[in-house]
């Protein structure tokens, strides 16, 4: 039982950065913009988040720095793709490369420094409950926020008029424009929101997961977040499932190795990817939504004609 609790705690920690970054990207793509720069925004969030926390000693300030860094990166992306109508794929890739380089520069002076990791919630009696206590009532703020965030996104997309408009912009920007909706403004807000989420997801790494900064510490998590959005067929519910499934298989394969089950470790390491892709594709097929689920205007440049 103690082992099970430990495993679940590790799974939550491993899944949270993916969920945070993917949540933002889901909104961005729902508005019809494909931002491949998630990895770059995350690593900038990690570098600036660490810087903020190191300078002030406060996790909250660190998180805000991370969010600000993500928003700043997203603003560059928005300026190019929305303002100047540059190709989104190329710009997104460039954003990743820029982020990796710039974060290394910013973080260079902080390598080898350490900070106090984010505090965990503690409620007497509730947190002390066996097995479920720490899982439900002993997490750090990032974890609770990531869950609240995806619920809020679901409510926004499916239960508000603004969400409906955002989806309409993503599905057919010409019609939305004809109806009088400010397509580029809506997309700008979505892109900035996506940047904030990616920055926060990146900041989670040095603030809570492994409390130090090292260049390249996101190690491809931004790309996984991107893939999760696609395989979750742009639906918030499936995104949570996908992120946690990926985290769970990642941790379980490590435990399986420590138990000495004798399965080749190379296969074990690829399991999270395989399992997540297969499960999410199967769900999409079962619901008959594969292929048609993508926002119809995704990745297309929009230039309003007066």
């Amino acid at each position: 039982m103690v082992l099970l609790e430990a495993i679940i705690l590790s799974v939550i920690a491993a899944s949270t950065p993916l969920l945070l970054a993917a949540s933002g990207e889901l909104v961005v793509e729902r508005s019809g913009v494909l931002n491949l720069g998630v990895e770059g925004m995350m690593i900038m969030g990690a570098a600036c988040g660490f810087t903020g926390a190191w300078l002030t000693g406060s996790t909250a300030v660190g998180a805000l720095f991370g969010i600000a860094a993500g928003v700043a990166m997203a603003a560059v992306f928005a300026l190019l793709t929305l303002g100047l109508a540059v190709n989104q794929v190329a710009t997104g890739l460039a954003l990743t490369i820029l982020g990796i380089g710039l974060s290394g520069l910013i973080g260079a002076g902080f390598v080898g420094e350490k900070i106090t990791p984010a505090a965990s919630l503690y409620i007497p009696f509730l947190t002390d409950m066996p097995v479920v206590g720490r899982i439900l009532f002993g997490q750090d703020a990032f974890v609770y926020f990531s869950i609240a965030l995806i619920v809020a996104i679901w409510c926004f997309l499916y239960r508000t008029r603004a969400g409906l408009i955002l989806r309409a912009v993503g599905d057919n920007h010409t019609s939305a424009h004809a109806l009088g909706y400010p397509v580029l403004k809506i997309r700008l807000l979505a892109v900035l929101f996506g940047g904030a989420c990616a920055g926060l997801g990146g900041a989670f790494l040095p603030l809570a997961y492994t409390p130090f900064f090292i260049p390249g510490m996101t190690a491809g998590r931004g790309w996984i977040a991107l893939a999760l959005v696609v395989f979750a067929s742009w639906r918030p519910g499936r995104l949570v499932g996908g992120a946690y499934l990926f985290g769970a298989v990642t941790i379980l394969q490590l435990h399986a190795q420590a138990l000495g089950l004798g399965v080749p470790s190379q296969l074990m390491s690829s399991l999270p990817y395989l399992a997540t892709v297969i499960v999410l594709v199967l769900i999409s097929r079962a619901r008959g939504t594969s292929g048609s689920a993508a926002p119809a205007s995704l990745g297309m440049v929009f230039v309003p004609d007066r």
């Binding site: 082992l3 590790s10 090292i214 490590l254 420590a258």
Partner: protein, 359 residues
Amino acid sequence: MKKLMMTAAVAALAIAATSLSASAADKLKVGFVYLGPIGDFGWTYQHEVGRRNLVKALGDKIETTYLENVSEGPDSERSIEQLARTGHKLIFTTSFGYMDPTLKVAKRFPKVMFEHATGFKRAPNMATYSGRFYEGRYIQGEIAAKMSKKGVLGYIASFPIPEVISGINATMLGAQTVNPNIKVKIIWVNSWFDPGKEADAAKALVDQGADVLMQHTDSPAAMQIAAQRGIYAFGQDSDMIKFGPKVQLTAIVNNWAPYYIERTQAALNGSWKTSDTWGGLKSKLVVMAPYTNMPDDVKKAAQQTEAAIIAGTLHPFKCPIVAQDGKTVDCKGGTHLSDEQILSMNFYVKGIDEKFPGK
């Protein structure tokens, strides 16, 4: 502080590059290819420290360039060739996976001298160098067995290549001299550098009962988990005491500077020849960080073992070596396994329960 030093180094390089550009043609251009970022605080960082010391020692006669974050495979071939094309006469490629790319480029540029770390393929213009890290691992195994209460060690491994395998075996052989029933749990993360995954692996090992952690991956993530959980750990590549001041027992520190200076000097003198250098504790290519957080008797024993290895009276792979399947391994080096056998090690020693990767 480090940032200052780096800025200073960069500034020094810049000044050297501009003020002496007239004589730049006479200067030997030395190139370095790194696997990770120079700030990884591990493998690449130590090579970078070596390069900086090289600049300090011979800075007026050489000009250095480094490329970081060069992934193994085709990308590295392009990077190495780029250095060769731009007039670098001596090129250090610092990861196992650069072996074949380095060899290919070496064949195309017969007048350029290549130095490849941790590999086994050589050419008239391609030398190899590495550290006998297993010597340090043997000492760590001995310490670990003494410090472990449960008799279970946790080992975070990267890729199943001979260097990593020989490290695991040396650890176990050292540990078995203290506790013949010692157990080791091994997790392969299939990456040299992924702090999150290394931390997850460390957590998994601790959750499954390991109470001393060792790693063959490059970030200090595992050391931090050890500090959080209050168990002992060993640093890797560089002294990681900062990340676990109360839990680091010692660390294997890679000290490349003397080798880089010696080889660059040879290239300057024109006496450079291909060679196969494998330095250990004796030649100070492998250095043990201070023995900390352990009782005096454990410390004393560790120092004695270290002294014995340096004196040559103790070899971690002294025969007979019994493999996992119970068969005694051929003893090709006389009283111990030959270097060849250690460099191509593809078996676990007896006492390791895990299945050998890929078998």
